[in-house]
Amino acid sequence: MTANAVTSNEYLLDIQALTKTFPVRRSFLSRWRGEAPKVVRALTDVNLQVRRGETLGIVGESGCGKSTLARCIVRLHKADAGSIRYDGREVLTLGAEDLRMYYRRVQMIFQDPFSSLNPRMTVGQVLREVLTVHKLRPKEQQGERVRELLGLVGLSPEAENRLPHEFSGGQRQRIGIARALAMEPDCLVADELVSALDVSVQAQVVNLLLELQEKLGLTVLFVAHDLRLVRHISHRVAVMYLGRVVEVGTTQELFEAPAHPYTRALLAAAPHLDPAHRVDAPAVSGELPSPLNVPSGCPFRTRCPYAFDRCATDRPELTEIRLGQSVACHLFDPALRPADQPAEVR
């Protein structure tokens, strides 16, 4: 099956050509001189589909637009252009009332265990507020539901009367998850859910997520920069670079046969756990370009060891190179004769 043949029903979330820029404050003089306004290109023409019940991992270096994408999906940012269809319905144009209904289905869980909970509300208040505002449970049933939710995320019922600062980081992330679950959503957007946690605690939260997904049939968008973790829990993975999706594929394909030179560099740079398996040369050289000044053509060309002249002029589109794996790289252009392609890549 090719991507084009998929009906919208198969994809719970269908993102097309999503673009988001952040304006940079300009000097008076530059405006006066009529200079073109500068923008941070956080997302450029992002195409991405998420299937029902799957976990889609999103990886990439800092500033490549992972969080922006997640936030656009839950409408915390207003996208500039493109479309996001959720279950066939356009999300970007939802009115206030429909948006509420949308949030009932799509919830976000946040990265920072310290700032993602209102420091002045007890856990019980946090959960009850959700139940009350959305009239999910009548008052008398709320207590029971709160205990149920706490149990679901592995917290004991006494937690209800405590304030966030009385919990450890891992516990706070559980509270955040419980808060999202209170809405009974079918899709979770998790932005760096466990990045701030210690490894030993990370595993606890990851387990919880896996378990809940199993139990509740959740679709999960898992944004992270820990490749090991993403590989462990994702069905499919998308790799982003400077506001673009450069490669997307099933976890196995992507990790075992990475196609895009950036994906390969990323995987090579991730420190391997085996001390016997050491590499001397750096996986990739050079610094990440500024999102204010994205290179023309392929954004990765400035650091790419295989870049050739066309990379500077044409922007490569995301195209399927094999079943379930798409890549945005000229090296995979079928029009290119095999002789022109570097041997290492194929």
């Binding site: 404050r25 300009r26 000097s27 008076f28 003089l29 530059s30």
Partner: protein, 312 residues
């Protein structure tokens, strides 16, 4: 880039300036009583009052008065004081330097007092030294300015005769000598505010990682304190100082009366009580421009001290 920023900030002052203009013009005319009453006192007969009003142009409708005011203003003419019968511009020219001198002097004294004591308090935090410094300034902050001024006058001026009681002085040195007590009064008040914030920001900076890094480089404590700690701690203090200079100029109102200093503060009070419309208007505009300039300067100094500030 800096030039464009300055230009932009200067242009930004203009709308504020115009609003200030209209506001003051109206406000001043809302004051009960009028210049004629203020000048003539109780005795004047109705005819005399009417004559005076005509003379001052107060018999015209407000709109006409405003139009005349604007016309004059465009020509750089702020009008003439109704009570002192002197062009406002000349008055301001005479008085403003006094107040500026006093404000700058007070700021310098304030900073000179605040910085070493704040460092001391921060480095010795939670010891008796810290307690005494903070307590002293807290008390200073809780006393009315005129009380402090009068105490200083009585003690250092009249009793010990170390400093003159009032006046302004002629030469620069003489000025420093004459204005010492008023500058001290204002400076003390300023120092009280500064010590508080500076101490806190020094404490904050002391725990910053770059201070740790500087120490790990084996630099002398003095170098660490001056180059790394103080410079960073001063950044927030400069902003505060700038914000307070406006208040300082305002605070000069009382200090100037107590110390008999012919500055704009006293002029303003006299003008308000004397219903000297042109002076009130002129001074307000001057204040507005001055404070805006101080803010601008604060920004520039801030940008100079803190390279992170991009006023793009």
């Amino acid at each position: 880039m800096r030039a464009s920023y300055v230009l932009k900030r200067l242009l930004q002052i203009i709308p504020t300036f115009i609003a200030v203009l209209i506001l003051v013009f109206l406000l001043v005319r809302l004051l009960p009583g009028d210049p004629a009453s203020a000048i003539l006192g109780d005795r004047a007969t109705p005819e005399i009052v009417a004559r005076k009003k005509r003379e001052l142009g107060l018999d015209q409708p407000l709109v006409v008065q405003f139009w005349i005011f604007v016309q004059h203003l465009v020509r750089g003419d702020l009008g003439e004081s109704t009570s002192l019968k002197v062009p406002v511009l000349r008055l301001v020219g005479e008085r403003l330097p006094v107040t500026l001198f006093l404000s700058v002097y007070a700021s310098i004294l304030g900073v000179v007092m605040a910085v070493p004591l704040a460092i001391l308090a921060a480095v010795r935090r939670n010891t008796w030294v810290d307690g005494v410094i903070r307590g002293l300034f807290q008390i200073g902050l809780s006393l009315p300015v005129f009380y402090v001024a009068l105490q200083l006058l009585t003690l250092l001026g009249a009793k010990l005769q170390w400093f003159p009681i009032g006046g302004y002085g002629d030469s620069f040195g003489d000025r420093l000598y004459h204005l010492f007590l008023p500058a001290l009064t204002l400076g003390f008040n300023l120092a009280a505010i500064l010590v508080r914030t500076l101490r806190n920001s020094i404490l904050e900076v002391l725990t910053a990682e770059y201070v740790e890094f500087a120490r790990s480089k084996g630099l002398r404590t003095r170098v660490v304190l001056s180059r790394h700690v103080l410079r960073n701690a001063l950044i927030s203090t400069i902003t505060l100082l700038g914000l307070n200079i406006g208040a300082l100029i305002g605070g000069a109102v009382i200090t100037e009366s107590v110390f008999a200093i012919p500055g704009v503060g006293r002029l303003m009070i006299d003008a308000i009580f004397g219903r000297d419309y042109p002076v009130i208007q002129g001074l307000t505009l001057v204040f507005a421009v001055l404070v805006s300039l101080v803010f601008l300067m604060t920004d520039l100094v801030h940008a100079r001290l803190d390279p992170r500030v991009e006023h793009a």
